[in-house]
């Protein structure tokens, strides 16, 4: 029965032009976004190193004249001078386009070592705004060691498939994807009102019908999404001439510290997060459809929920219970932005997944109770009536 109902719902969904159009839009997001992205000029590693070099000169220029008067000051001065030299050498190695990666890593590791030593010496004489933060030094160190360990190339083409897909997933994360799923599922239950005398009396449990809709909408949406990812990757490959390196490290926050994972793992986690968010938003849409019985309200209330933590935060109300809503912007969870903002090292993707599951479970429970409630009321009334008799 469930399977046959599922097949009927499939037929309806396949005839639904709105959902087909939205499916095509999400599918085209990846190739179209590439079109935009390839017209931008993302900052390359060599640009970053040049900026870093300028920063080193700026430090040197601003060091006090009497710095060398103490042994610590003398050591700091020597290290800063050495660091400036190492950064310039790194720029040179990068200009050799992969021929001198080993040297780049060697100097990079030394550079980080010196920076840590300068920290130990208390950054004497270095202007506050020019001090390289410790977590930045540690993450760069880890990145270089990861590249060395996995024998990877330093310079990567930002337009190659692997790099482009990471940027595309980061762009899709948050309100864009949330709004998309809201639109997609805005009539997930409410359309039945237009066909209620056909659909109302099926001999199938309410929750089974709801689960079948969610499963179906999920498969339909993800089919378009996966095709879109493949298309986007292919477009990037055709344009840049390279698939890039899917084992290249990407920094994420995990278990309270910054760690590196491969691009492929990052994409895998992104897809997993999108899947979990899709399921959550589908059940949320079911609930709002049942509650408001209107597709537009579904979208408006959904958006309201999404921005609720920011609105409350703007008026000085920080409610940590609402944090799971923010996890819908998973790229900020992965990058550690939330962990840093909330000063909570526990906030990583595992933590976000756990909470997104909890919220989904809560929504399913509320839907279940909402359906069961009339029966409970009926039994209660019957009990009262019999008591009176």
């Amino acid at each position: 029965m469930f399977w046959k109902y599922f097949l009927f719902e499939t037929k309806l969904l396949l005839h639904n032009r709105k959902n087909a159009l939205l499916g095509i839009i999400i599918m085209l997001f990846f190739p179209l976004f590439y079109n935009y992205y390839s017209g931008t000029q993302p900052e390359t590693l060599i640009d970053q190193k040049r900026t870093e070099g300028e920063r080193m000169y700026s430090i040197l220029n601003q060091l006090p004249d009497n710095l060398e008067g103490t042994p610590e000051g003398e050591e700091v001065y020597q290290h800063i001078t050495k660091q400036a030299s190492l950064v310039n050498m790194q720029v040179y190695y990068l200009s050799e386009k992969g021929e001198m990666d080993e040297e780049y890593i060697r100097d990079g590791l030394l550079l980080n070592e010196l920076r840590m030593r300068v920290h130990e010496l208390g950054n004497i004489g270095i202007p506050e705004n020019l001090i390289t933060p410790i977590d930045e030094i540690l993450s760069e160190d880890a990145r270089l060691r990861y590249i060395e360990e996995h024998d990877l190339t330093i310079m990567t083409d930002p337009f190659a498939s692997s790099n482009y897909l990471v940027v595309a997933f980061q762009t899709l994360s948050g309100i864009l994807f949330f709004l998309f799923v809201l639109l997609y599922a805005s009539e997930i239950v409410v359309y039945e009102r237009l066909h209620h005398s056909v659909m109302n009396g099926f001999p199938l449990a309410f929750m089974k019908r709801i689960h079948s809709k969610v499963i179906l909408y999920f498969i339909h949406l993800f089919m378009f999404l996966v095709i879109g990812i493949v298309l986007g990757g292919y477009f990037a490959y055709k344009d840049s001439g390279s698939f890039g390196d899917f084992s290249y490290p990407i920094l994420i926050m995990n278990n309270g510290e910054y760690t590196f994972i491969s691009t492929m793992t990052y994409i895998g986690i992104s897809v997993l997060m999108l899947a979990i968010i899709t399921v959550l938003v589908l059940y949320l849409s079911v609930f709002m459809n049942l509650l408001f019985k209107n597709a537009y309200t579904n979208i408006l209330v959904g958006l309201g929920l999404f921005i609720l933590p920011d609105i409350l935060s703007a008026v000085g109300l920080e409610i940590s219970l609402l944090n799971p809503i923010k996890y819908l912007d998973y790229s900020k969870v992965l990058s550690g932005v939330f962990a840093k903002d909330w000063e909570n090292a526990l906030v990583d993707y595992g933590h976000a997944i756990f909470w997104l599951f909890i919220v989904t479970g809560l929504i399913i429970s509320v839907i279940y109770i909402k359906n069961k409630w009339p029966y409970v009321q009926k039994k209660k009334n019957l009990f009262v009536k019999r008591g009176m008799e």
Binding site: M1, K4, Y5, F8, K11, L12, H15, L194, H195, H196, S197, V198, M199, N200, G201, F202, P203, L204, A205, F206, N371, K372, P374, Y375, K378, K379, L382, K385
Partner: protein, 296 residues
């Protein structure tokens, strides 16, 4: 098979069903006659649990009520309601709808070609519903009920938009369903048509069943003739008319034959035939006559 126990439905101060009780058995077709707004659809909605009554309960097969979802599903397996033709899916074909109902209730679609054949739908059933006329849609709705083949069927306005041929086709189908021991409730404005297949017709007014007409169970015969009020007044002035006569809706004069001797019956026939150009008939009162009696 289906029992309504003290059902009451109120919308604000308006009582639509008032402590209504009723019992129906399998193999029965029960007509529900009442003007618009007197609770026919409400009664059907309560039976299908689309509307929760303020009081009372619906009991199916002496066992099942709508008190839990589990029991409701058991009832749903036994009960179907007539779809509204506006609720059909325009972008799907008739056969898609039939397969849906066949699959959901019978778990098969093997019987569908036979239904399509019986209801002469073969020439259009594979087209999209948006191309159907009102009559075609109505036939499809009926075919969906047939495809579901449940033991209880609630059919509200089943004959809407059908031409004479199709009314006849569906009437025959209903009689066949009755033979298969289905319990069918029919609300229809084609009152004469109900006489063809209904075992009884209930008349609703002010939330209660005010009359239940049973067919084929020794109903009393009447001499029936249409008279305008002027003719009726002349008749009662000229003759001594039995007190139990009826003058329905100011146009139908009905004289009960029960208790009349044959000679007296003949005398009345002759006297009434004297009113030229009027058609006289003898027989029990039909649904139309009772309807007019109760609502006009």
């Amino acid at each position: 098979m289906l029992t309504l126990k003290n059902i009451s439905v109120k919308f604000k101060d308006k009582v639509v069903l008032d402590d209504l009780s009723f019992q129906a058995e399998k193999g029965e077709i029960i007509g529900v006659a009442a003007p618009n707004g007197t609770g026919k659809t409400t009664l059907f909605n309560v039976m299908a649990n689309y509307l929760k009554p303020n009081a009372g309960e619906v009991i199916i097969d002496d066992n099942y009520t709508y008190k839990s979802e589990k029991q409701e599903i058991k009832i749903r397996k036994r009960l179907t309601t007539f779809p509204d033709q506006d609720d059909l899916f325009d972008e799907l074909s008739g056969i898609d709808h039939l397969k849906l109902y066949g699959n959901m209730w019978k778990g098969t679609t093997k019987h569908i070609p036979q239904i399509v054949g019986k209801l002469n739908m073969g020439n259009y059933v594979k087209n999209k519903v948006r191309t159907y006329s009102l009559g075609m849609r109505q036939r499809l709705c009926f075919a969906m009920m047939a495809a579901a083949d449940s033991s209880i069927m609630l059919m509200d306005e089943v004959m809407n938009g059908l031409d004479i041929n199709n009314v006849s086709l569906i009437s025959e189908y209903l009689i066949e369903m009755k033979k298969e021991q289905k319990l069918i409730f029919i609300a229809s404005h084609l009152l004469e048509n109900l006489d063809l297949y209904a075992d009884r017709v209930i008349f609703l007014s002010e939330g209660k069943i005010i009359h239940e007409q049973r067919f084929g169970r020794g109903n009393d015969d009447y001499i029936k003739i249409s008279l305008d009020p002027h003719q009726y007044n002349r008749l009662i002035n000229e003759y001594v008319i039995p007190d139990n006569h009826l003058y329905i809706a100011s146009h139908l004069f009905c004289l009960p034959l029960k208790g009349m001797k044959q000679a007296e019956q003949m005398k009345w026939v002759e006297q009434l035939l004297g009113l030229k150009e009027k058609e006289l008939s003898i027989g029990p009162l039909g649904t139309v006559e009772y309807y007019e009696k109760h609502y006009h």
